[in-house]
Symmetry: C2
Subunit: 229 residues, 2 copies
């Protein structure tokens, strides 16, 4: 709305893949009248609507585009994207008791992005790497995948929490039901772990865990990482 | 809840003085199971309750203490505080049309803090410096006061907004109804402007506006400022 030279943000579009605070909280710092389009599922739009604080994203300049699962949308010129269901759960702040951690719906989603013949998948939260996700990733140029924990009991073992990775809606990298073995077998050019918790030992340069991941052909993402496809 | 040596925060208490995002947004980054007490008015507690996202502040470790206006509360050993009404308005994200900008209630408040004989007032948002606030500040060791804008039409003149300072619930430093002349006359040891908008020319070292403020005996607060009373 205001001259780009005075206040500007390079963020033109946001694709929401989860309704928890680490995914939606940043929207509150994008509120200063910057034109912006938020692409999101109906379930995530409901979460924003249920929290009046998000009406700070003034509808006069911030457009919300509700997308169906598996529906391609043009998000920029020459770039399209679609959301797809990923096993997961509702946001922690909405939990009221027993929680379904392999829910398939619009609450936890991945996103596929295509541009000029390149294709990537972005899956920051996933409790189970299904055959459907594997099939969708087959032949992709990049797969960004949930690397929250290295071991399922990591939070408990470190004394920082009472929950397993699976309970938090995140499959661990290793151990039963881990993602690393599956990723290692996949036909994807670049496989990159993202969303690592600060308990994850892969953060430590030279750690045995980091070496295990890298030897399996998976990269460890980091803040400011740039990926050219 | 968890060992202080692994994850810790020095923040033991939070006193909320406003329900807008620049005041409540930070609570979402204090959510990782740190014991904490939030002191707030009924009106501000209602705002948090109306936004489910704030239930991320797990009631098992984050205590909310609803305070009446003008009621002293012990916030730490040897430290007490009370909220008092300050002319202001409801949060921007709750505005629906015409807005009362000199509302007196629990939506915009100041806080008085006393400890070991020292006394300070903290008033980050204020549309009118009333005789009641002046009387309360009389003889205080420090007054932190709303310094959002230097001129009432600053946002408009700079092309960054359509609203005057008064419309945003903030009296400007200078011009009709400005705070600087009033502060200059007040019997308070240290007077410190806080909450400056990034359009406020007092940020610029050596600016005429900064000099005007400092010559009137008022300091310009800054991130990381420490004040010993």
């Amino acid at each position: 709305m205001w001259p780009a030279s005075l206040r500007d943000s390079p963020v033109k579009s946001v694709l929401l893949t989860n309704g928890d605070i680490d995914h939606i909280g940043g929207l509150l710092t994008l509120r200063e009248k910057q034109p912006l389009t938020i692409f999101l599922t109906r379930a995530l739009d409901d979460i924003l609507s249920d929290n009046p604080v998000f009406s700070a994203l003034d509808a006069a300049c911030v457009k919300r585009v509700v997308c169906e699962l598996n529906e391609w949308r043009d998000i920029l010129p020459d770039m399209r994207a679609k959301f797809f269901a990923v096993p997961g759960k509702i946001p922690l702040f909405m939990e009221t008791g027993g929680v379904e951690t392999e829910m398939l719906g619009g609450q936890t989603v991945g996103v596929a992005v295509e541009s000029n013949g390149a294709r990537l998948l972005y899956v920051p939260g996933c409790s189970k790497l299904t055959a459907e996700i594997e099939a969708m990733a087959d032949g992709a140029d990049a797969l960004f995948f949930d690397g929250t924990l290295y071991r399922d009991d990591e939070m408990i073992a470190s004394g920082l929490g009472r929950k397993s990775g699976f309970r938090m809606g995140h499959m661990p990298m290793t151990g039963p039901g881990g993602s690393l073995e599956l990723l290692a077998e996949m036909n994807v050019k670049r496989k990159i772990y993202i969303h690592m918790n600060n308990t994850n030992p892969v953060w430590r340069p030279g750690s045995a865990e980091r070496e295990t991941v890298e030897r399996a052909g998976v990269e460890i993402g980091y803040d400011g990482m740039e990926v050219l496809l």
